[in-house]
């Protein structure tokens, strides 16, 4: 490697074999030595003049401009002015009692402590606006000085009393000024007409202390409502209607399509037109009669309601249907040559020849005529018969054998409960007690199946039901209660096995509750007293 400057020189002498490519190795020519010395002097001059940069130089002593450096003060240096044309690298802190580039670095640094990392000072207004718009709006607390270039005094407050100081408040077509929580009152113009609408709760009150006027926009009056005074209505600015203390005052005519006080004034007026002036309404009946009599009579056209107190319907007319409500009397021959309508003549109006006799009745003869007939015959020699069983001959009433049942036999009196009709042996009957002669009647009876299945009643009389109480124990309920409990029970029970004898007894013992006037408990038992269901139970209840 050629040694072209101090920086190329080696600290190993054997390696320094040339200077500026001039060979100085062993055995070189003497001129090389001379030339090499000259080049070495040039290199040294270049170091002094600073044209050759020295590197890795350790100055370990001495002073620079009088400031000691080196081993005596290894890390301390004080310079009046320290200047460098390149970078300065410092390991450790720098303490500056003055400024750096004219700035008090410590003071500026304190300010920088409050600036976030990454903060920039070159944001444009647009960038700042974009950032603000991310946090502005309701609740942001941003209190601007103006809104759209207007200060707060240019806006009406909605949440406080406020006054509009200039300019009109204009609502576009169909935009409403609404009042009330439910927009009850609305004022607006829909492009064609203007409206005041009240659609919510309550009515629309227009109130004034003095007067309320409805005017044409030019100033003409349409209507005026005066407080404590009249209400005036106008036609073309001319008052036509006015309310007064005593009523109303009208200027001009009144046209009524209905009535006034229930009267059709126009119709009444037309009638009044026909009344002569001076006419009076106080004429007496006698005066009116006198006047009428001067023009009545045939040809007068006077159509009276009655004639001598009778309506026209009371008189016969020659060519109409005749309706009569009173008697028709006549002398001589009276004939009717036409038919009398159905239901027109009742029995009382039909006059049959002759008067008949007392108790006779008018009987149809079957040929369209009527005659008087006698309903009963008191003659003793007349015989009447009814069917084939009954005959009445004179005063004797006869019934043929088998011709009359018990229900047709009329016996004096109704008898009493439990009595029966008894023949007296002489052709007559009388009511008698059932037991009066020692007889007793079966008042109730029942035949039922009470075996090993569901109980069923085969037939009965005077018994409304049978109660299954337990095995072999039943209660017979009577349709009609006995007068007392002295009735007699008789009955049989069929043994289910057909090989034993069964008994029927009153209930389970001597308890009176098992035998009452309305029911009787019966028991079916084998000879050993064991109760048993029976396939056929027959019970009779006698009463005298």
């Amino acid at each position: 490697m050629a040694k072209n400057s101090w920086n190329d020189y080696s600290s190993t002498n054997a390696s320094n074999s040339d200077i500026q490519s001039i060979d100085i190795s062993e055995g070189c020519s003497p001129s090389n030595i001379n030339n090499a010395i000259r080049e070495l002097m040039v290199d040294t001059a270049n170091v002094v003049s600073g044209t050759i940069a020295l590197s890795s130089i350790n100055i370990d002593g001495g002073a620079i401009d009088g400031t000691a450096i080196g081993a005596n003060s290894a890390s301390t240096g004080a310079f009046t002015t320290l200047s460098t044309s390149s970078n300065v690298s410092v390991t450790g802190n720098i303490t500056v009692s003055g400024t750096v580039d004219g700035r008090d670095v410590a003071t500026d640094g304190s300010k920088l402590d409050g600036i976030e990392s990454g903060a920039t000072a070159d944001q444009s207004a647009a960038e700042i606006l974009t950032l603000i718009k991310t946090v502005d709006g309701a609740g942001s607390g941003l209190d601007a000085d103006q809104l759209d270039g207007l200060s707060s005094g240019s806006f009406l407050r909605s949440d406080a009393a406020d006054t509009k100081t200039s300019g009109d408040l204009v609502f576009s077509d169909s935009v409403k000024a609404a009042f009330g929580a439910s927009s009850d009152l609305q004022i607006y113009h829909n492009g064609s007409n203007s409206f005041i609408d009240e659609t919510g709760t309550g009515g629309l009150y227009i109130r004034a202390d003095n007067i309320i006027r409805l005017d044409k926009f030019t100033g003409e009056t349409l209507a005026a409502f005066n407080a404590d005074g009249s209400i005036d209505l106008y036609y073309d600015n001319s008052k036509k209607f006015e309310t007064t203390t005593s009523g109303i005052s009208i200027t001009g005519n009144i046209t009524v399509s209905g009535t006034v006080d229930g009267r059709d004034v126009a119709s009444d007026g037309s009638k009044l037109d026909g009344i002569e002036s001076g006419a009076t309404a106080d004429q007496s009946a006698a005066e009116i009669l006198t006047a009428i009599k001067s023009v009545d009579g045939a040809g007068s056209g006077l159509d009276a309601d009655t004639l001598d107190g009778s309506h026209a319907s009371s008189f016969l007319t020659g060519n109409q249907t005749i309706t009569l409500s009173g008697d028709v009397t006549g002398s001589g021959t009276t004939s009717i040559s036409t038919n009398i309508a159905a239901n027109v003549v009742g029995a009382s109006e039909l006059n049959v020849s002759g008067n008949g006799s007392t108790s006779q009745f008018l009987r149809s003869d079957g040929d369209g005529s009527f005659s008087w007939a006698t309903p009963t015959d008191t003659n003793t020699d007349t015989t009447y018969s009814a069917g084939t069983a009954l005959t009445l001959s004179g005063t004797t009433f006869s019934v043929t054998s088998g011709g009359i049942g018990a229900t047709q036999l009329n016996v004096s009196g109704n008898g009493t409960t439990s009595q029966f009709l008894r023949s007296d042996g002489d052709g007559s009957f009388t009511w008698a007690e059932a037991g009066g002669g020692g007889e007793a009647a079966v008042e109730a009876w029942v035949n039922f199946y009470g075996g090993d299945n569901t109980l069923s009643v085969n037939d009965s009389g005077g018994v409304s039901s049978v109660t299954d109480n337990s095995t072999g124990l039943h209660t017979v309920n009577f349709t009609t209660a006995f007068s007392n409990t002295n009735y007699v029970l008789a009955g049989t029970c069929r043994d289910p096995n057909d090989n034993n004898t069964m008994n029927m007894t009153f209930g389970l013992g001597r308890s009176d509750s098992t035998k009452t006037t309305s029911a009787c408990q019966i028991a079916c038992a084998q000879q050993d007293g064991q109760l048993m269901d029976s396939p056929e139970v027959n019970a009779l209840f006698f009463y005298g």
Binding site: V457, V463, V466, S470
Partner: protein, 77 residues
């Protein structure tokens, strides 16, 4: 044919179910409700049931039971 059931309250039969069978003759002039009110002992509650409701096996006849809550059709007069 319907039947009427109630619980017997008499001393020897207390708690045993009683079954009333109306007679055909009575049913010609009375309703089963009228018969029930007349023939069920006074004050006892009853129920009107179909024949099928009554068991046919009478081996344990006296052990038949019914809840009082089911006797809801009326009370004997």
């Amino acid at each position: 044919m319907a039947k009427i059931i109630y619980k017997n309250q008499s001393s020897n039969l207390e708690g045993i179910i009683a079954i009333i069978t109306p007679t055909p003759n009575a049913l010609e002039t009375m309703t089963i409700e009228e018969i029930a009110r007349k023939d069920v002992p006074t004050g006892l509650s009853y129920k009107i049931v179909d024949d099928e409701f009554i068991p046919t096996d009478r081996t344990f006849r006296d052990a038949w039971t019914i809840s009082d809550a089911e006797l809801t059709d009326g009370v004997g007069d």
